[in-house]
């Protein structure tokens, strides 16, 4: 049995890696045979070499990554907390809802990068701008999903809580949040993706920023260094997948899946 599950794990890892291997090989071959000039696009072997250099030889990759990650954590945490509160207020107070829902609807559809020039003027060229960009990137989508999630909570669930004397902020914390957790998680997941996008854009455009994955990619442009750029791109991709698949999937597993809020498909395959 153990042997079988190990085999299944290996198989699923291979299935994930396989398409990357195919693309990698085609890419490498076409650069080696000069179908694609290596001055324009580095081959996978050079990218790998560069990765080893920046990650293990001089280690600057991690310094870039850590700067970005710190900004992400600050901006995204702020957006999550304030987004949850705003979403709850908008869904529970009809008057506030009437006033602000159109504003939220408008802002949720503005690409975050469009804010950056405004922020560069109002907040300066440093960390504040980048963190605010991250905040704006994830805040609105979290507000929106929280608001909708709470609005569709079963009326009888709320009535049941009321009949046990639970109202107000207690109702919010103990009933509305868990009852709408599926929507809230969707908001957080989308918000996190948007936050990364905003982060990279913000770092590229903020002149006073020295460290950050976005900055690393942008600076590599001065040396026509496509290998470093692609290392940066892959690092962003992998870390988003890691956070999404590992952290959020784990939260889902111990919450909404456990509570039977999601129809479970092919659970035996996951095990």
């Amino acid at each position: 049995m153990n042997n079988n599950s190990a085999k299944a794990t290996l198989q699923s890892i291979l299935q994930t890696i396989y398409p990357f291997l195919v693309i990698g090989v085609i890419w490498e071959v076409s650069v080696q045979l000069n179908w694609m000039p290596s001055s324009n696009l580095s081959s996978p072997s050079i990218i790998l070499q560069r990765f080893i250099d920046v990650a293990f030889m001089d280690g600057i990759l991690w310094k870039h990554f850590l700067s970005s990650f710190t900004r992400l954590v600050i901006g995204f945490s702020l957006a999550s907390v304030l987004g949850l509160i705003t979403g709850a207020l908008l869904s529970m107070q009809p008057l506030l809802n009437k006033m602000f829902e159109p504003v939220i609807n408008l802002l949720v559809s503005v690409p975050t990068i469009a804010w950056v020039p405004v922020l560069l003027i109002t907040m300066g060229l440093g960390d504040k701008t980048v963190i605010t960009t991250i905040f704006l990137g994830s805040y609105f989508v979290i507000v929106y999903n929280t608001m909708r999630g709470i609005e569709i909570v079963d009326k009888n669930i709320i009535n049941a809580a009321h009949s046990m004397g639970v109202h107000g902020t207690k109702l919010f914390a103990k009933v509305l949040i868990p009852a709408s957790f599926l929507s809230i998680l969707t908001g957080l997941r989308l918000g996190l993706g948007y936050a990364w996008r905003a982060l990279v854009g913000g770092e590229m455009l903020s002149a006073m920023i020295q460290w950050g994955v976005g900055k690393m990619i942008f600076q590599a442009r001065f040396w026509n260094d496509t290998a470093t750029m692609i290392v940066g791109i892959l690092i962003i991709g992998f870390s988003v997948i890691l956070i999404d698949q590992v952290m959020i999937n784990y939260i889902e597993k111990i919450t909404v899946y456990r509570w039977g809020m999601v129809n479970q498909v092919e659970e035996s395959n996951l095990e």
């Binding site: 009535n159 046990m164 004397g165 639970v166 868990p178 957790f181 509570w259 039977g260």
Partner: protein
């Protein structure tokens, strides 16, 4: 006669939609005596759910008043327990967590709440399922959790809105017996809604028959059949006929007004 715990006086309830008003309840006067099992029965659309929602405080009367121990009901509160047709359990809480919820939120210490919740889970025959989440239970089991949840914090009145309406016939019959047993142990004042005459006569001390559109009280019938009751007993059958004849008249009237 026991003294009334809930008194409904000259109660009217209208619902307004875009351009019409619907009179749901008209001039209801009703006393619910302490410690009695009162069943409201009537054709669909007679406003019995509206009436129980008003007692629960989920809705407000258009005129008239509802008093609980002499004080007007203004909002929902733990002095009334509510059992919903669709259970309305909290899916993120275990059976134990659901039953503890009303206790912990009304000043009980966690340890004491746990002990008391376990007693009530035992009373509805769910010992061993404390750590289950509601979605893993059958409909009948979920409704038992819901009953334990509503009884645990010791409300003065237990309100039950067609609690067995969503269950299959076998489970329903079984649940009626269990509820009768639980009631014998607690002698809680109960207001119970159903449209099953069999269920009404099996459970009730007092049956209130309601008319449709607008909902009014048509008849109040005392059920003096000794407990535990049998569905085949002669006196049980007599009362069943009595309730049925009241209801038949209502349903005929309803069909005269709204022919198919």
């Amino acid at each position: 006669m026991n003294k009334p715990i809930v008194e409904i006086r000259n109660l009217n309830k209208t619902f307004k939609s875009d351009n019409q008003t619907l009179l749901a309840l008209e001039d209801i006067n009703l006393s619910i005596p302490q410690g009695k099992f009162v069943v409201l029965i009537g054709p669909s659309g007679c406003g019995k759910t509206t009436l129980i929602n008003l007692i629960a405080g989920f809705e407000k009367p258009s005129s008239g008043s509802i008093l609980l121990e002499g004080k007007p009901i203004e909002k929902p509160g733990p002095d009334r327990g509510f059992v919903f047709q669709d259970y309305a359990l909290f899916p993120w809480k275990t059976v134990l967590g659901n039953v503890m919820f009303g206790l912990v939120n009304n000043g009980w210490k966690k340890e004491e709440a746990r002990e008391r919740a376990k007693e009530f889970i035992h009373m509805v025959n769910l010992t061993g399922f404390e750590q289950n989440f509601p979605h893993t239970l059958s409909g009948g089991m979920r409704q038992r959790v819901s009953i334990a949840r509503a009884l645990a914090y010791d409300p003065k009145v237990l309100l039950m809105d067609e609690p067995f309406g969503a269950l299959d016939a076998q489970t329903r019959k079984h649940m009626q017996k269990e509820l009768a047993d639980v009631w014998e142990k607690t002698h809680k004042t109960v207001v119970f809604i159903t449209h099953s005459v069999i269920e009404a006569v099996y459970l009730a001390d007092i049956i209130v028959v309601m008319t449709a559109r607008p909902g009014k009280v048509k008849a109040i019938i005392d059920v003096d059949v000794p407990r535990p009751r049998k569905y085949t007993e002669e006196h049980y059958l007599e009362i069943r006929e009595q309730v049925l004849s009241h209801l038949d008249a209502e349903i005929e009237k309803e069909q005269m007004q709204h022919p198919i």
